[in-house]
Amino acid sequence: MRASKFLKAAGVMFFLAVFACIYAGQANAGAEDGKKVFAGKKCGDCHQTEGTATEKTFADKLKKKGPDLWFAGSKFKKEWLAEWMQNPNPIRPLEYNSIEKTNPGNHPKLAKKESEDATEYLMTLKSKDVQEGVIQEGASNIQGKLAFEKKVSCFACHKYPKLGKPIGGLTGPSLADASKRLKGDWVYAYLKNPKVLIPVKRMPVYEGILNDGEMKGIAQYISTFK
């Protein structure tokens, strides 16, 4: 009696284990296929997928043709990535690296399956400098709102939703729908440790200007933008 119960339990465990392996294998296959899509479509011509960041000067940055993706899995929401690579609507109002020309909106498009595989692949690219589970997304944050709108006016360079309509400057990526696109933990890490993730940029460094509570508050506040 006891032996048969044991066997039954062992059997269930065995099936679960096999199932888990197949499942993990599928996710892995997706990531492997996604890596092939990335290579086949020459996405790497414009995107760096291996960290750490190497640019040091304005000239280094100007040589880049697209934003870094070596921390994509720490930065983006998975559902957003899969959708955006099929319908790549402009994120940056201006052309990459330009402060004059409008974004031409001509980013290469992927088919559904390619995009899902590429998403599996990009989600494996994580930065050890982005700690997970720090920012509680979606909850309002007064300290963050005050810092963003009043103390340092982040909207001078970024669009954000104000009374249902995006307002703000053009030289930074639009944050108007940031809750769908960006992980709060990445936004916090980027403010806290900007030189590790994106060392050269037209955005000021806020270390020593905003305190830790304000940086966390801003990351939480941005996670409510939709």
Binding site: E100, K150, A156, G169, L170, T171, R202, V205, I209
Partner: protein
């Protein structure tokens, strides 16, 4: 060698804690990279962000406006942003972005722009 070693340590400590960019750029390069997006590459206050700002960026070529500011004011406003001179905080703080020396060079550069 023994005497030079502490010097290297001192230099690397200073470089580590001086904040700011990892490389020194000329005032012209810094202006075109950071300031031009709002003030315009010629300094007229007509950068691409200016249309979407609630306050017009200062026209750095206008001597009447620029003469109201002492060198100390200009340095502080670049370091701490508009709040330093009780102006709009849409003028961002650059004190952690460019070094103190680069800011001093920038003050001279602004004097050239307004010819004042």
């Amino acid at each position: 060698m023994k005497r030079i070693f502490p010097f290297f340590i001192a230099v690397s400590i200073v470089m580590t804690f001086s904040g700011g960019s990892a490389f020194a750029a000329s005032a012209d390069e810094n202006y075109k990279w950071y300031c031009a997006q709002c003030h315009g590459s010629g300094g007229k206050g007509d950068g691409i962000n200016s249309k979407d700002l609630p306050v017009t960026p200062r026209n750095h070529t206008n001597p009447a406006d620029m003469k109201k500011l002492t060198d100390g004011d200009i340095e502080n406003v670049i370091k701490q942003g508009g709040a330093a001179t009780s102006k709009s905080t849409t003028m961002p703080p650059f004190g952690s972005t460019i070094t103190g020396d680069e800011i001093k060079e920038m003050v001279k550069y602004l004097h050239k722009l307004c010819n004042c």
